[in-house]
Symmetry: C3
Subunit: 569 residues, 3 copies
């Protein structure tokens, strides 16, 4: 019997060895067919030159980013947040000798003393131990094949040294792509789907004139709150935090959270407090984050979906490192073309070409995206359930847009009747209003809007989506007034809270931070408008009785009607 | 010696076998004595017929629920939220053949492909493996005895097929009761303790006319935020989430959270941030959620109490599936009878019979409940400590009600002096005000209120608890104004925040989301009232001087005094 | 070979024994040199006698705490929150016989039945098992050496009995210090660093006259939210929760949370949602909380810092039980001396000696503290990064103070022009305004402020930091008005949110709960001021036309200018 057993073992061993050999051959063949050429991915590839020159060229802290770069100087910390453009190598300590001699050992020797935490963290990483687990070893093998050399360790030198300039660098996504080309290429592909996307998020930061206005008014330090998310897109460590750079960590919902939370995109709150999120919280330790998303067994390894699982899904069972390809309503800030408006929203975007046009929720492209969502949700729910929910979310958004349309009409009418108080002529300009039209030509701003800026020096009333959001970011003397702020909160906070509440199926966010405060703000807009009209009627009665109200000197009250807003408004 | 040992073993074995035999006999006897008859529990048992006909009869999506059912059509998703009334079987795919042939195998064969997550989740459940753990096996045995058949698996067919109608169904609590009769019976017993309770929570959703008003104004999609909690009471899966339906999961505080959070009942927030909740968070993995509550060793297996442990406690060491039997202040929305009021709260509930009368906090029934609370808290604290805290919470609530009384008086006086601006006559009606009195007779609404609705078509000013809450849910033209919204927030948000802060012993919620913003809103109510009086005095002076203020056409200003509000206000 | 092995073992054993002996000798020597005398630490040591008499002398519930103690009676629960001053032994049950006979066994025998949870929790503690782990055994040894007796158990009797008075007591920090002298001494040392500190936090509770005003107005129960943190400083169990009193628990960030959260110090929120906090949440189970902070391996045992790790750090690698020694901006409530002001902030603190003077952020002492912060951050980050962030945080705070200065100027001007509506003369007094100057002499209040209180009986307008915060805590008739509340929120909520957002590097808190709502409140202050000016101008026009506006009787409108505010304003 022993003989038979041994014989069986012998055959098994042979088969196993042969299997390995053949698989090796197969792999070699595949490699010959599709040689994987390592390259440094340019995440801005495809953008015009001027774009790269104002967003991606390194200028240290000497000037800003974007088209309005000359109107502000970046905060010191921006060198760390957006290193591609703003990093300056350390000056207190000259590292050039170590760099020239390639003294990799010295990095650790010093920094282990000074920055123990960073070094210790790196020691837990796949960079320190590229064969830490079978999955990681496999990934390392793929990278080795693609870059054509063996990797025993990825150390400080590999990432933090610009070997050309012989300088310390802070790595950008492009630097990471030298090994992680596929991930960075997929990430960069987000830009092909239009904004918002991670690649272009810096635009929302510095292509809004209130950013520069903050600088002019000495308030830029507060804007670091914006920079930390919006200026951190050319790096991988917002999600794969340094210095462990773990893929497993980045697969967890919390990885998205410190940016994706708050008034305008309460993703963390709405997901976290939904049944999906609560079950994740309860069963977190049973979720398998070591596995690539495509290998996850739904219902077993993930009882509920994560941010990554839904948003990186590309349809047909595939996942890539692109989060935006299924976005229909986007951030929810752009009005849909599918409903009628009563207010000046009718004319949105007022001829302005730098803001997005109304979204057609039912375009072919968007219907395709919807199919992918239904496919995703059908992992657990019936397609009827999934489609029903999506349709209801559309309805919510249409309704929310109608509510803001109502509020906008109230303010439109105030302006038309010259009763917005104080009148635009009596208050500070729109942020950057005195220079905006010098930088953005009439072709981009639209003739009417461009003329209005030029004629009034920026003293124009602005409400509505995108441009009217300034009320959340700027306070000049009398601009915005409280009624405009109330409108902006309705548009930018509560509509978006309700949206994300719906998208992530969290009832409290849907109603109590969504529709309810929208209604309340609408009520406030109505109440304030009535008070303004009441005071104006009183002033009119006084004027007619020969006792006009006289205002303090220097607070002359020019009529809004005297201003030429142009066709854009 | 071996002989003795063996002998000992022999006797032990005999005794053991006999014990089993006798216990078997004993059990059989008990069964004979108390035959457990399985039955489908009607959670609406005891309600009058009209109640069942408007809340529980299945109508699909053809009409609404409740007395006002003809004034709206339900949202599509309500078929899933409140299936007992609104579910419609799938039409895209005819399942009848499978149902007739009882092809249980086919359910899984198809849905494993389409809805993998749901099937995989079910595979982790006690339904898939009814002898998964000793505790579950014991429960299964009890069920088997009660239904008189053996259970090897509970599959899709068992829950999702209406064998009478030969249709796919979405199971309701009644369906679950076929096996889980005790739990559903206890759950249904909540209705014996008055509202609020889980059984009748749909009433708060659809018996408030702002729900139907939302429908009329095309804003119903936002109300799904209400439906998700208020319309999900005839199902078990809000807590025992599908398809694992775990009792252990439902024993965890997070199970309550997606409903029990937010402005009006910040249970999750106040518990979660209290020391009880924080210690639970820190030591979660040491809490034993597999055990039934009555078996939990306090201090050892639960270091601090959970939602379930306190609220399912019935006194005397017993726990049942009833959460409301110890409620004294209820949701905190109804004013107590134990204090004096200055405002129209004196007359609450204004003769209206469909809203609850003032609560006597010190009724015999409520004093009994208090004793049970003290008994519960004394698991860890001294009875003096527990009683002291409860008394202080009462004091807080009395004070909070006095503060809102102050605010209500300010607005009462404005109305009495015809200075609320805009006047009720000049604005949109109270939600549903034009049809309310057609449905609710004078006997229910009270003569005065009924007349007021009839006479004015709903153009009546309404502030105060319950009915005045409309200001959080509706915004017509000029109704409510900001001062009324401010009052409603004081009543419905901040008073209730402070209440739950106190109840769950969380200081930040008590003060900063409770008493502090109440004071701030009171200040706002005062400020706005003064502004209205100031403007009215100015208008009066102008009128007296022969220069009356003229308002835009169509905005005629009828006097509130001209309206007959009836005795109710 | 066996011989050699044995020999080797023999030598090893000898060396080991000798090492133990010598270490024993060394220890004995050290003990002889520095005998550790156990003592009861007086946390108020160093304070003047009057301070102790009004804060620390036990008065039960008969009177209040602090200088204004005669103006209120404490809430019942304060006996548990601040037992040193307010505890009263139980009266329902006479424990004196058990105490006299030292029947330690009886405590447990009864309370195990009544308060099972507390006893079971204690059984998990080091008090029950003083040699539970090697680390705990070592600590016990140190304590035994210091108090000169062996400890087998620390039971109810040891902590809860006042052996002198033969009464049940609730232990204070001083009682804990009988064994834990080092920790309590370090804790008490916080007071050497100025306020805020844990020792003196009761002052912020009862030395603010709105506390007593709440009592006078029958609203004290709400203030329990204040007491729970501010009145819980002479106890150790807010962090080391009873009855396990675990050091490991107190080392976890959540231990600080139930107090350190909310509008004015969103520490929990800002840390919790920062990358530091998120990584802690994700990797919590890998943090080693059993180790004393000084032994923690950064990057390995703590991947990110905790509250305790940063705030207990004293520089030079040492940690003590003192959280405040590195505080520069403190709670962020006191304006810095490093910027220019336009408003009455110029004169802050208006001669008042009981409120802190402006802070010089760049004093030598504060520069030293900064160095320690940089040292701490450099555990992981570069010193340039750390210093850069701290500088930017200073800039944010300077800017935030400038923004509030702008708002204060708007209200200052209203007051100066007698246009704040209602005028201070027409409304309720400043909280406690009628008795404040009787208790606080002119030397403390400053001549001008003292005179203003005396002359007007407290009818003075107060805005600005510290004193103006009353608007968050009190609402009299017309005092504060909404514009003042808006200012106070700007100062006390949003500035501080932004501050903690910056300090803990959380972008959402920085912007959306910090600078953005500050700007919005500033806009509201401007809008309301303009409305007040508009109405005043209308009234002036009417008066000039011979048709003065007449107000309801009893609402006489005295001019703010007629009041003598004194130099302080």
């Amino acid at each position: 019997m022993n003989y038979v057993k041994n014989l069986r073992f012998f055959f098994s061993a042979c088969l196993f060895t042969m299997a390995i050999l053949f698989s090796g051959v197969a792999q070699a063949h595949e490699e010959e067919k599709k040689p994987y050429v390592p390259r440094k991915v340019d995440i801005y590839e495809g953008f015009p030159d001027w774009y790269k020159s104002v967003f991606a060229d390194n200028v240290g802290l000497k000037e800003g980013s974007g088209l309005f770069k000359d109107h502000y100087k970046p905060l010191f910390m921006n060198m760390y947040m957006y290193p591609g453009r703003h990093y300056e190598p350390p000056t207190r300590m000259d590292h050039s000798l170590f760099i020239e001699k390639e003294r990799r050992d010295l990095c650790i020797r010093c920094h282990e003393e000074i920055n123990t935490g960073a070094i210790e963290d790196w020691k837990t990483s796949a960079h320190y131990n590229p064969r830490k687990t079978p999955i990681i070893a496999r990934k390392t093998k793929i990278i080795e094949d693609s870059i054509g050399k063996e990797i025993s360790v990825v150390d400080c030198f590999d990432c933090h040294v610009d070997t050309e300039k012989k300088q310390i660098r802070l790595p950008t996504a492009g630097d990471c792509s030298e090994c992680h080309a596929r991930q960075v290429t997929e990430f960069a592909s987000e830009k092909n789907h239009g904004r918002p996307n991670h690649i272009q998020t810096l635009e929302s930061n510095v292509l809004v004139p209130w950013y520069q206005e903050s600088y002019r008014r000495g308030l830029l330090a507060g804007n670091a709150g914006c920079d930390m998310c919006h200026g951190a897109t050319d790096k991988c460590d917002p999600c794969h935090t340094r210095h462990s750079f773990s893929a497993a960590e980045a697969r967890r919902p919390q990885a998205c959270m410190s940016c994706h939370m708050g008034p305008d995109h309460p993703d963390a709150e709405s997901y976290g407090e939904s049944k999906h999120g609560i079950i994740y919280e309860l069963e977190e330790e049973h979720y398998n984050f070591d596995k690539p998303l495509a290998h996850v067994m739904v219902g077993e390894e993930y009882r509920t979906p994560t941010c990554q699982f839904c948003h990186m899904y590309q349809g047909g069972g595939t996942f890539t490192h692109n989060f935006v390809s299924k976005g229909i309503w986007r951030m929810g800030t752009v009005p849909p073309s599918n409903i009628e408006y009563e207010s000046s929203l009718k004319d949105y975007p007022y001829g302005i070409k730098i803001i997005p046009p109304k979204i057609d929720i039912y375009s072919d492209e968007n219907l395709d995206k919807r199919d992918k969502w239904i496919e995703m949700c059908s992992n657990c729910h019936s397609p009827r359930f999934a489609a029903g929910w999506l349709t209801q979310m559309d309805d919510y958004m249409f309704q929310a847009n109608k509510l803001t349309d109502q509020a906008q009409k109230v303010i439109d009418d105030l302006i038309a009747d010259d009763m917005l108080y104080p009148s635009p002529a009596d208050r500070d300009i729109y942020p950057g209003g005195d220079w905006l039209a010098d930088i953005l030509p009439a072709e981009l701003l639209g003739e009417g809007v461009w003329n209005a800026f030029k004629t009034t020096g920026g003293k124009i009333p602005v409400i509505g989506p995108i441009l009217g959001v300034y009320a959340m970011f700027y306070q000049g003397d009398g601009n915005p007034t409280h009624i405009e702020t109330s409108y902006a909160k309705m548009w930018f906070w509560y509509k978006l809270q309700g949206y994300k509440g719906y998208a992530h199926v969290q009832q409290d966010v849907m109603w109590w931070w969504g529709q309810s405060p929208m209604l309340q703000e609408l009520g406030n807009v109505q109440s304030e408008a009535r008070s303004m009209r009441r005071a104006a009627a009183i002033e009119k009665a006084l004027a007619e009785s020969g006792n006009p109200v006289s205002f303090p000197a220097g607070k002359g009250k020019a009529s809004a009607k005297e201003l030429d807003y142009g066709a854009g408004r």
